[in-house]
Symmetry: C2
Subunit: 287 residues, 2 copies
């Protein structure tokens, strides 16, 4: 590392996530003791993509360890949009299910947006519905998209000032780039959305106090794209557990940086579980 360049501190998502999950487990136990209700997360998987199967199992295992029940529904690869919508509508109406996760992406013949919208907003613990998105943008009650919510929790755990600072988001997907920008804007950051059509991307990313890589291209952002002292959040998860950031070169410039794995990934699941318990508490309180 050269003289005068910040020595990046790792943002330990695994440790921060563990504390969130411990609190969620305690809250789940309290709900069980007080109301006799075990929070239940329904996971829905269409097809048998190996990565998706792994993710769903991981979420079920983590749920179980936190004292959260799970219900699992598998639909064949050939399921139609109508069948998936019917499944999600049924779970939305089922009083024993408190949170619903549709593992995505779904097979390309399915209308993913129609499927997401079949999830009742009060059970949308993965924060994928249009209602949840607008709630994040407007500061209204609702669930955060799990990864964006996890990124905000990680920034807070490291006491990163957001107000008035320039956050640059690279990527604009409905469940990652767009909502993380809205959450940062709601916290008074100045927010720039960049994407594949952006002219001179590096000129913009080099202005970022907080740089969020959410583009889905392995090692896409290198140290040249990072301002000295920036906080770098790598929300990428590419095959082989590789992020969207070239870690070695970016770490030479950043003041704080998330590793992959062990950065944003664990935060996503932690927020999913936390929001499942919150959903159960709210549904029990409402009666």
């Amino acid at each position: 590392m050269s003289a005068g360049i910040p020595s990046a501190l790792l943002m330990d998502g695994t440790a921060v996530a563990r504390r969130i999950v411990e609190q969620a487990a305690a809250d789940a136990a309290a709900l069980k003791a007080q109301a006799g209700v075990t929070p239940c997360l329904a996971t829905v998987l269409v097809g048998s993509d190996p990565a998706s199967v792994t993710y769903v199992r991981m979420k079920q295992n983590r749920s179980a360890k936190a004292g959260i029940g799970s219900r699992h529904v598998e639909l064949p690869e050939t399921a139609t949009t109508a069948e998936l919508v019917a499944t999600l509508t049924g779970l939305s109406q089922d009083p024993e299910v408190h949170g619903i996760l549709l593992q995505h992406p779904v097979p390309p013949h399915i209308d993913e947006r129609a499927a997401f919208e079949a999830i009742a907003p009060e059970k949308d613990v993965d924060g994928v519905t249009m209602h949840s998105f607008a709630a994040m943008a407007f500061g209204e009650p609702g669930f955060a998209s799990a990864t964006p919510g996890g990124i905000l929790r990680l920034l807070d755990a490291y006491s990163v000032d957001l107000a008035g600072r320039h956050a640059v988001i690279v990527g604009r997907s409905p469940i990652l780039g767009k909502p993380v920008g809205m959450l940062l804007l709601a916290r008074d950051a100045t927010v720039t959305y960049c994407h594949s059509k952006t002219a001179d991307l590096a000129a913009l990313t080099r202005r970022a106090d907080i740089l969020v890589a959410a583009v889905g291209r392995p090692r896409f952002l290198t140290g040249d794209a990072v301002k000295a002292g920036a906080v770098v959040i790598d929300a990428g998860y590419n095959p082989g557990n590789v992020g969207d950031v070239d870690f070695p070169s970016a770490a030479e410039k950043a003041s704080l940086i998330t590793p992959v794995p062990g950065g944003v990934g664990p935060m996503t699941i932690a927020v999913l579980l936390e929001q499942t318990v919150a959903a159960a508490r709210w549904q029990v309180a409402r009666g």
Copy 2:
């Protein structure tokens, strides 16, 4: 005007709006001829703020000229959130009403968001609901917020390239700043949201190819804040018909600029009427 500085061309919102309203009137007449249905816009006014009364009358007059029927509901200044919600719910369920406009702002004791959300998304021709916002952000079917939608129509009428260009929005309200940014992002602009907490605002606005002033402070953006050749959109409407942009100094820098009045204002009403007719056509087609 100094040598070498662009001579700004005015963006004539009055003329562009007239063409949109003429088309809406033709579409309304066709619907009447084909299905016997006159599109109907319901306007709801709470209290008697003089500016709001004027705006509502203007919208009714323009509707009438375009062959769009109107229904007007006035509630007293003392109306409760529950009363306003009940009114809007009733109009949402009324098959003779195709579009609903709640004149805002509403008195401060009313929960404006709760009121907006009582408008059925398929009648939300002013684009104020959470559903409409997310639809704009995600490119899903839905109505645009009227002013942001009008701004996009005006940019298109002047063949402004958006893809890859940097749009800087000053302001982040739920019905103006936030949605106009989402519409520009959906059209492949790089989008930066600035606001009252932004550090060194002028450094950011001077990078804008397209600068949208939506801040609600008279003559807030001056020529120093404008890059030579930028397209400047003034969405401000402050007392005395004054925009958010200092027109003389900004016009010396801009390549295209909206006047106030006669820029964005007429576009807002045109989009409201166009969307009312579209709502009626859609509701008739659905049966």
